[in-house]
Symmetry: C2
Subunit: 279 residues, 2 copies
């Protein structure tokens, strides 16, 4: 099998065994959108309004439910309704980073009960494989998928080099539940020295990439931006994550226009990638 980079999203959906990864790949193909919008606002009403506006243009919404001041669990019901109405998946960007026993509680319990509604969540590999075991004990029976942070988009990040390789190795050992990475590029072959090449060719990790922007180069707290073309075509990533670049400006019509703009750019970069590889 050729590298996942050379396949269409639909082809990859057929081959994937994890229910969340399969659903995401199918959604991307069906909606012609590899756009994930990251909605970091602090009021329920803004949160739901923005998601309703961008819904038609996205495959995935990325949330930080713990920044919402007037959170009530009924907001999750509204979010699930929007997910059904507009056909997108939900990704709570929790960045779990604790030992197995603790993350299992944080994932399943508490006010947010993330595992009950978020198709995909993510974790830092720092604590070691126990974090995957802990999250998988909750998420696998529910058909959820986990994204590991192999790299970050922020300035001076320590997620590079040997750290990144170890993250990928940890993911490879848990391919049923770990469906991909937060990374700036494809991870094909990373940390794979000495492994069987046939086995490697069959692996399909989704690459979700933050720090995507068309109009800004960075913020004052170390975030750095690249364009959809750089991310999808040049670096071979699968999903572009855009935040303030979409919802940060103007009224609903502006937000809608920005969402469509990013969807179009991200999809064009993917189509070019596929055509380049085919020629």
């Amino acid at each position: 099998m050729p590298s996942a980079r050379l396949l269409t999203y639909a082809q990859r959906a057929e081959n994937h065994h994890n229910p969340a990864a399969k659903a995401l790949l199918e959604t991307i193909g069906r909606k012609k959108s590899n756009l994930c919008v990251s909605v970091d606002v602090t009021k329920q009403a803004d949160f739901l309004r923005i998601i309703d506006v961008v819904g038609p243009y996205i495959c995935l919404v990325k949330t930080h439910v713990d920044v919402i001041e007037d959170f009530e669990f009924s907001m999750i019901d509204r979010l699930k309704e929007l997910s059904a109405k507009h056909d997108f998946l939900i990704f709570e960007d929790r960045k779990f980073a604790d030992i197995g026993n603790t993350v299992a509680l944080q994932y399943s319990s508490g006010v947010y009960k993330i595992s009950s509604w978020s198709h995909i969540t993510n974790a830092h590999p720092i604590p070691g494989p126990g974090i995957i075991t802990g999250l998988s004990s909750i998420g696998t029976p529910l058909g959820r998928g986990l994204i590991l942070l192999a790299e970050m988009s922020s300035k001076g990040t320590l997620a590079s080099g040997a750290y990144t390789s170890q993250a990928v190795q940890m993911a490879r050992a848990h391919r049923d539940f770990v469906i991909g990475f937060i990374a700036m590029r494809r991870m094909d072959g990373v940390g794979a020295e000495g492994l069987d090449s046939t086995d490697l060719a069959n692996e399909d990790f989704l690459i979700l990439t933050p720090g995507v922007g068309l109009d800004a180069k960075g913020d004052s707290m170390g975030q750095q931006y690249r364009t959809p073309r750089e991310v999808v075509l040049e670096s071979g990533c699968d999903v572009i994550i855009v935040g303030r670049g979409i919802y940060g400006k103007g009224n609903d019509a502006d937000i809608q226009a920005q969402a469509e703009r990013y969807r179009k750019e991200g999809w064009a970069a993917y189509e070019e990638r596929i055509s380049v590889q085919a020629s």
Copy 2:
């Protein structure tokens, strides 16, 4: 000035400029307790009851408020009352691990408003220095202190070697707000190649150490345990963090007995450390 390891907690309190670090060191000296109890239960009533029982024996309580199912903000008022009643500080073990803009919101806002009640919190250095800038923008005006995770106690952790050195270097560049580390040993001299030795001798990072237990060697999800003596005397750490080893067994009298047992062990190890160094 000699290494912090050679000084009493009271001497270190006098020299420290960060209000949270100063208060913690004073509390340790006043209560003759370097014990932090980590309370990971999922019901408000259990949470408050355990803290009321262990309160007299601890300098610090470590919380994961996001695992409490029936959380209401009034629980925080009760926690603050217990903190005043029993004279201990509060450490929300949030393990922030996102970019600066996001962690600033997660720290100050949302349901939990952590910065409004937690004297100390912690963060992974992975995202780069922006995470400190983001948290400091909220915490410094409130007199809070930040602990960086330089190491972890779990099996297969990636927080070692160059990662740990970079964490310490990041802390050194923000000594007003970063007051110490989660680590398994002192960080004196780590990542300090080429730095001025007088300046280094004046630094005083608190070392808070998880994975402490007297009766167990580990759990099924990769947590590993060492004794208070190993941690405080041999490795020079300042605060021992104990969880299920204290509250995991029996009734209130048992919990109280375990808390006093760990307090005594931790304090004896500290007194031996000081006397060994003085002789």
